[in-house]
Structures are given as C-alpha cells and as structure tokens.
Amino acid sequence: MTPLPLADVGFAEASWIMVVKSILIFLGVFLIVPVLTVVERKLIGRFQHRYGPNRVGPGGALQPLADILKLAGKEMFRPTAAVPFLYAIAPALVIFSGITTIAILPFGDVKDGVGFYGIDVSIGVLYFFAFGSISFYGLLLAGWSSGSKYSFLGAMRAAAQLISYEVSMGLALLGAIMIAGSLSMTEIVYAQDDVWFIVPQILGFLIFMVAGLAETNRAPFDLPEADAELVQGYQTEYGGTRFGSFLLAEYLEMFVVSGIAATFFLGGWMGPGPSWLDPFWMVTKILALIFVFIWVRATVPRLRYDQLMSLGWKVLLPLATLNVLVTAILVVVL
C-alpha cells in the first residue's frame, strides 16, 4: 500500500520563533485588514466614477481609523431574545478561524532556520478547509443566537451555501494537489517551479475563485448578508466591535482565499529577483487576487437563491469533477 501523500515535515523550529511568528501574523492582520477596507471602498468608488472616501486624512487614508473608533465607541448591545454566550462567542470564532488559516500561507521558504510561514503542516489544505468550516459555525451561531428571523435566515443561507460550494472548492484544489503530489503548501509551491498551476489548472483556478467568492460571502454570493432582503443577515443584531469583528473576518477570509489561490495556482512566492523578494511577490499576488474580488463585487449583481444553488450543483461541481478526472488520468498517463 502506498503511503498517504503527506509531506515529510521534519523541519521544526524553536518555540520562541513560533511565538514571534504568531505575534507577527496578528500584527500583520490588524495592519492589513483596515487598509483593505479603505482600498475596497476607494476601488468600488473608482469603478462607479466616484472618488470613494477622501475626507479623513490624506486621500482618505485614515478612514479605517475613524471607522474603528466609531465602532469601538458604540454600546455593546444584545437583544433580549439572544443567547448571551453564543451571541458573544460567534464573532470571536469567525476571527479566530480566519487568523489561524493565515498561519499556513507560505510567504517564502526556510531562510536562516526560519520559515516564512506560520507553520508548514503536512495536511496543508485540509487545515484550511477545517478552519473555513469553523468560521461558518461562527456565522451559524451568530444567526441562530441572535434570536431574530433575519439573522436566522441569513445563517441558514450561509449553511446551504457552505455545503454547495465547499465541495467544488475542494475538488478544484485537488487537481493542483495531484500534480504536486503533496498536501503541504511549500511542496505545492516548489512543484510550480517550471510552470504555475494556473496554466494546466486554469479550470480549477476559475472554479476555485468562484467558489472562493461564495466561501467569503462576497458579492455576487453575499446571500447570507443580502442587505436588500435580509437587512444584514446574520449580522443584523450585531453592533459596535462585534459587528466590526464580522467585518474584519470578511476581509480576513478574502485575504486567506486569495492567499490559497496564489499558493496553489499563481506559484506562491515564486517570482523574479533575489530570494529576499519572496514575501513581496506573495503579497503582490494576494493583492492582485483581492483586486479581482473587489472588481467582481463592483460588476456582478447578487444571485437569486435558486441560481446560487444551481450554479453550485449543476455547473461548478460537474466541472470540478471533470477537471479532477482529466487531471488524474493525465497525471497517471504522462
């Protein structure tokens, strides 16, 4: 029997390095997410012939600071019908799962005994899916524990959406995993030394991006939020910092999905120039993918619920399965 394609992760670091890396990830997250919020609003504005926020600070650069101060200054509100503990824990769960996933994104290889990633786990992408599902638990709990029908409907939609798109997402990545022959993120990046997986796996990349939009609850798949009919979905009853947490988590997940896509299809940290430029290339690729996310949001209207379901089950899933089958045959034959 052939062993499971788990990467040989013999490389271990000192625990103090791990602690420093965790702190750096947290700092990086809280630095990059506010920037993303203002970048998104500016870009959406430009897509609509507007300037976007430009009042706070030079060119609106301090807008996120104003937003955070406003949210932090609000009352910690809870509806009477809510379940107190779950209501409080849900936003934390969403943020937690987002940040933990950043740990596996490789921003470079091991240099001077320090890997440029949080941790190189042998199960790689399974870790990403596990924590992605936990974040949906957060949404579900938020919707259910709020004690409001809009929140509940939003949470139900989130659950249905997760089931529909998680499968296609996994299958889309499976092609790249089969070519690389490993689940480890660094191994997958090394397998793209010759050619990025976006070339042989273009279908997988497209499916992953569409499913990623659904996974992050962003337009056109923002049905769990659907401001037009559900007020704000599972976030309806939240306010202040807890609402801010959901907002943070949304951008965090966008970052994570872009990071996974960059690692699996765009060659991760690979790029021209000396090796110390590796993190720069990775961040550039992630930002380019985030631009695509924002671009799509500015373009495509929200799907109807049945359209969402039929796209997931009738289009993406067969395509992803076909992609996996063809890739598997080619991997064996070639």
Partner: protein, 183 residues
C-alpha cells in the same frame, strides 16, 4: 397566433409578445453567462480607467447658469447711488409665498434715499419661505430687485434667514462661479 393561443380573442392578438432572453440553464447557459460576466468585468474596468467625475462640492462648485435664480439682490443707480426701489410693493403682491414685506415712506428732498417720490423704509425677504420663483423680479417696474446667483443660504436660526434691505443691498461675495458660454 390563433393556433398558438386558441383562448385569445381577436382583440387580444394585438398584444405584443414580451421579448424574453434565452432560456437559462444547461451547459450553453453556463458558457453564455460566463461570457457575459467577462463582458461586465470589461465594462466596469473601463470605468475605473476613466477616473471619477465627482465634483468635490465644498471645494469645487458646479458653475451656475446666468439665469440661475439664487438669493435676491436689491440695486442702486450706479451714477447717483440712489436705491432703485421706490417701495411700490408690487413684488410683495406678486410673491406667491408671501415672503416679502415692504413698508414705504416719503422721500425727504434734502436727503433722498431713492430716485422716486417714495422709498422702501423696510424691505425684508423671508428666505425660509421664498420659493425662488422670480416673480418679484418680473413684477418690479424699476429692475430694483433681481435674483442673484447665491445659493449657499443655510443658517442656524430661522430668524437669520430674514434678509433686511441692508443685507440685500450689500455687495454680496460671489461664491458661486458663473457658467461660461458653451460650458
């Protein structure tokens, strides 16, 4: 059409059928919607390249047309400096919002205020009631009152919006840019 819809009467056949798009679904539908999505992405990206068209209002202002009806102005004769208004109250009579109050008084020949026999001792316009219709301007036989270009009239008290004769006569600072020919 009768074969298609046998239940329709002759009059109903006049109804024009609604134009519908192709049926959704299927592989062709997915392919088509993918193409249309790409077309949409192209459209929005072109907007990004074009750049914003917003006018940054407090800093930049849309130029007003020459006939724009803003805040009223009272006028003097340029040579003698006498007020054009003779206190005839025709503007007050024409005003549909009833926002003009005129109290006339006899001119003192030694110290004339207006060019006519009488002058407006009190001339007030309540701008919180004014509808900027310009009828006062039309009614005035001496062109003493005209509509200016000023439109930034917000204030903290309603009382401050009652403009007296002195305020209306004063040279206002032109804050609204005038639209040039062909702009």
């Amino acid at each position: 059409m009768s074969e298609e819809f046998p239940y329709l009467s002759k009059a109903d056949e006049e109804i024009v059928a609604v134009q519908r798009g192709p049926e959704p679904g299927g592989a062709a539908g997915a392919y088509r919607s993918f193409g249309e999505t790409l077309r949409g992405l192209k459209t929005t990206f072109a907007r990004l390249v074009e750049g914003p068209v917003t006018i940054q209002y407090p800093e930049e202002k849309t130029p007003v047309y020459p006939r724009f009806r803003g805040r009223h102005k009272l006028h003097r004769f340029e040579d003698t400096g006498l007020e054009k208004c003779v206190g005839c109250s025709l503007c007050a009579a024409a005003c549909p919002a009833d926002c003009i109050r005129v109290v006339a008084a006899e001119n003192d020949p030694a110290d004339r205020v207006s060019a006519g026999e009488r002058y407006a001792a009190v001339y007030e316009i309540n701008l919180s009631r004014c509808i900027f219709c310009g009828y006062c301007e039309v009614a005035c036989p001496f062109d003493a009152i005209t509509m200016g270009h000023e439109y930034e009239l917000a204030d903290y008290n309603r009382g401050d919006l009652i403009f007296t004769k002195e305020m209306l006569l004063a040279e206002s600072i032109e804050r609204a840019p005038l639209r040039r020919e062909g702009e």
